[in-house]
Symmetry: D2
Subunit: 391 residues, 4 copies
């Protein structure tokens, strides 16, 4: 099969997440990077593109120039997909422009700054019949697939309680005042939106809960704090919630939990058993049995579900990590793009199972519901269905 | 030194916690059990007393008979302390009666059913100049002492966030309907009070937070659930809180977290570092450093504080457990009793550092504040100072 | 039931293990300490006895005086058992003298300095029909019982490989030259015997292997090192072995594994599964399944064997430790003493299951076989059956 | 920079390790796969090549045809490097042929079947001035770099003891009789050589010890077992060793440790501290302090050495795994190839630090010394310096 040609917006020198996307795209040989507008600074874009060995004519000074330039190329040369790894506020205009140019989109989270923007993208994606993948990458881990399958198959019984946390400590100081770029734009409402901790990591936790449980978070009570002096947006978020089926839950996300690295952990308790998964040890899935014993499943083990095994590259005991999970989104999106494009030999079995534009919209709505609740100190209805989402 | 003579109310055949108290009292050779009213059923009381080798004249048919009988004995024979290990509703009348008979009290938690009862005990304890220890036993662990010392010494910097949980799964089914005694009374408001999960385990979590941080929980927003059908009291409690110093926190306690055994875990994050302690691995204290590394301290290690070492019996690597921690309360209460009694050689260094009647009263108040908040869905002021408590 | 009257030889001020024995004996209320020769220094013996509240007439200046003094007391007063917690070289004469006075013996390990001495004690124990418990205490843990039961029931299939280690770091420096008493006598061949690491901790590892697997170590190849300069006896021992059934194994014990506390860990691999237990986390038993998943069993869990449950005091999640395991030996020895003494109500179900004088003799023989192998650099036959041991 | 053109020998359909090499080569965009002889079966080679999108003229029926075909291509088209992922017995002839054609070699371990073959490759590599990387991939992990640096800097003090194990359970049954390809050739002396467990995994353990300690294993005493009935080569290897500096160690490797996945663990004890690293949790490095506390370092943490950080792709808490470690070998080999080729902009800082042909030869010699020792039951001199190796 030929590789899917893609371009990148953002991901210039020093941008951690751009490099992750490129490695994830490269891992399985499904994609080929052929164009880019890597920075709002043309010189930086040029440097990055050269380092990546791109044809200089396809290194652009701006994303607008890239939309334009790629559209002029013959169909068999121009990019089929765009990867958007900019600060949040650019997700919307860039995604919209490329969708309108009939380019598939792989976009970082949170999807947009407002619910309205998100809904516009939902409608446009459907209208243009494009693939739109939002990189809630944690669902790409094999054992997250396993967790979801176990819930689906009823192995936990009826669900009763959910605890999810996403603790980081990297913003324990006013890093944004020290010229750290990653911190800078995340702390700026104009570029990050109405939220920092919730948008950056809480939205992952939200997505993970909904993915694994198959239930929707429909009521929230949020306590949001701006702990570090001098900061504008919240850096600590503590939320009580309920799902549509009445399951009680806690979601807490923090950027000031000093010493924590990237501690995303999900626990789901049912009537018959529970599960516990932590992103920092992603190859272990702890099953709590009702008799008080535990079972630990490992990535690559023989008794895992087909869904888990289909997203595993190595035998048991050979650790798979963040990049491999990320690559699973890319691989599944690739399968879907091939299918949508009507590529010969495209296999429906390799399509689907990645976070969609609707999932992204749900995340944006959740952020807004939490901010509203924190303002009032009251429970808020967070029930929401993005345009076009199937029930 | 001669052993402190004590009697026990409750703790008859099959009562887990009575045996724990007896082992904790025996461990260091500070106490001698000489009397008991072990059950409301005289036959059972008699059986238990005989098995323990007590003098038959000091095995009583009721706690009232025990107050009476012991009071008639010569001072050098009668009990100096009573241990109360009954269902919650009896704590108050029994404690009151023995205090009035000038007997020191060691009593299980929650202290009483109402705040008023708790305050009565506070005043009586002061009036009679007695020692009153409430067995919030988790503070007895050496590494909990260490945690408190580290907070005190400022090693975490200013505190910013607290997460405490106490997850159990043993009430995941309607066990109280199956004749399980421990479950039965805990599910009965007449005997347990207005709360099950909060009273039984949430109050331990509350006490642990206040003990380690040295701060008071002064605002709460609670979401209490009765998850198992047919049950009256809450079996799942999720609480957002603030301390008097404005530190944000979460406290969650559950009896329906299936598969969890006795998972009490405390995390405290400051500006400079964090700590993490879990009762199921009580000999490890995890220190999170701001550089993203961890330090694990172990009970018995040479660099621990004097406070931790004073509550350690064995060299590092020799696990100490629940009974040893419990025994630390008994040992400290013994030292205080000896001091109050003016015993020759009593050492002030061995007095103090056990949960007091005021701590117990604070726990009762916390339970009531949470129930109130859950009713209104609103934040509730939980600031409280029991009668006689110093600042 | 009345308590078993016991006396202690050794265990004076500052002796860690004497206090452990006393706590273990006290925990279940089966024993009462009534006499002692706590030190070779009469003043220290006297101080220790007084602190323990003993009758001054039963605090002896020497163990010889204690044998003599106790023998003169009426049968219903004199000690029924002696606990020997002296440096190794005294185990033999003290045990011999008390056996000859018809006193049951609970003795620390290694049993004796020579195989001949051990055999003398085996014969004398049988001749006098006494109970002789050697405190290979690690077999007292509930999950060690569980491990043995699982091997017995064939849940691992046929055994194939054993790995046992006992790593400590406390002798990483020449502590014996700094006046540390525990280190001093262990480093002195006259008091410790021909071995340090093997005698002190390797013998525990040997006992644990034989206890859990039900097989005997019959061939050894040892590499013994004296790593710390200035030391006489070995402080690092690395041994390849085979059992009578041909199972291959490794046993390594070290006192210079800096940073290790008391790391005794046993792994047993069979055809169908494996088990992994570590003394520093004694309440977890890891079962490795052939499909690459793990099952973790916890002390107090409902699915454990009767043997494990019979040695458990608390519900799951309430950590039991070193003292509780030690106390299980005391409790089982007590049941056996009552039976042997023909005490009314003595229950055969509570007798047995403690390390015997024969187990002790086997340990001594193992030490000698290893020292021989280390001398020759060759495999050595370590097959051995102490006098009177049933096949 | 342009990508290094490489071809692959072996790695056809179903071959796990071939896919790993391709992902490792792809990850950083340094290599481009342009040719292959993927199987001894031309049809399979063709299928694999097509699936990988290769030019059909560069998919070869045999490695001999590939040497020939590539040699005829213009220099700017032909492969610069060959990756050899065949069964062991082919490593030698394939590597030799490509070296003679002036192609750089990346080859799986063990390097060759005999020491003589290994030495031939050493000499040829030097004579042709080629890069030869043997994929002892575990040295590619960032925290293995960190471990080596800590030893180098003297943070452990003088080394005293090493324990390394590599436990797997996948050959617990006679898998090779069931048509499992990976098992089949490893069990066949004609294709695997004189060893199975030692060659396949023991050689990794040997390499890891020498890499981290900077010392050489110079004496061995081996106990090799063939545990599964019907098998020819050893599947369980237990080895006592000494380094040139007299450090005592144990190395054990097993393919019949049922339930173990890929458990490679190294512990190094010194006079001042110890370290502990396990491949299944590769992002944690445990430092044992002499005071009995531990420090856990995590990949991506700020206090790691430059060497560790240079081999890290993601911030702390974002797990890196097997493929990333493998890719580090590829990346370092690429830097060296560019340097040797005199490529413009080649940076010496990116050259070196991968296992060389000499390391491979040392591994082969170690296997032979162990087999010899197992035959005699005696210590064997394993001191060895491959031709051309610097001191």
């Amino acid at each position: 099969m030929s590789r899917i040609r893609y371009g990148m917006v953002g991901g210039g020198p020093g941008a951690f997440i751009g490099a992750v996307h490129r490695m994830a795209a490269a891992l399985d040989g499904e994609y080929s990077l052929v164009a880019g507008a890597f920075s709002s600074d043309p010189a930086k874009s040029s440097t990055q593109g050269a380092e990546l060995g791109l044809d200089p004519t396809r290194i652009y000074d701006s994303w607008e120039a890239m939309v334009d330039g790629e559209s002029r190329l013959p169909a068999e040369e121009r990019i089929q997909a765009v990867v958007i790894v900019t600060p949040n506020f650019l997700h919307f205009p860039v995604a919209k422009a490329f969708l309108e140019a009939d380019v598939h989109v792989i976009c970082d989270k949170p999807l947009t700054l407002t619910v309205e923007e998100a809904e516009t993208l939902c409608r446009l994606t459907a209208a243009r019949n494009r693939v739109f993948c939002v990189t809630h990458n944690y669902t790409g881990y094999p054992l997250v697939k396993e967790a979801r399958e176990r819930v689906r198959r009823g192995e936990l019984g009826e669900l009763r309680k959910v605890v999810v946390e996403y603790s980081q400590g990297w913003l324990s100081t006013l890093l944004e005042a020290e010229g750290q770029k990653q911190a800078e734009w995340r702390a700026d409402p104009a570029r990050a939106g109405i939220s920092s901790a919730l948008g950056d990591i809480g939205s992952h936790a939200h997505n993970l809960v909904e993915y694994v449980t198959g239930q929707r978070i429909t009521r929230v009570l949020a306590d949001l704090g701006t702990v570090v002096e001098g900061r504008t947006l919240e850096d600590d978020a503590n939320i009580l919630f309920r799902t549509g089926q009445g399951v009680r839950g806690l979601l807490f996300a923090s950027q000031i939990a000093v010493g924590e690295r990237n501690h995303l952990r999900l626990r789901v308790y049912g009537t018959k058993g529970a599960l516990d998964w932590c992103q920092e040890d992603p190859n272990d899935l702890r099953i709590l049995e009702s008799d008080g014993s535990e079972r630990i499943l490992h990535t690559g083990g023989g008794t895992l579900s087909d869904e888990a095994q289909d997203h595993t590259r190595l035998p048991g005991g050979h650790p798979e990590g963040f990049i491999e999970a990320f690559a699973n989104l890319y691989r599944n999106a690739a399968g879907t793009i091939r299918l949508v494009e009507g590529e010969e030999g495209a296999d429906p079995a390799h399509a689907g199972d990645f976070p969609t534009v609707a999932d992204g919209a749900r995340g944006v709505h959740f952020i807004h519901a939490c901010v509203e609740s924190a303002g009032s100190g009251q429970w808020v209805d967070a029930d929401y269905q993005p345009p076009g989402e199937r029930g």
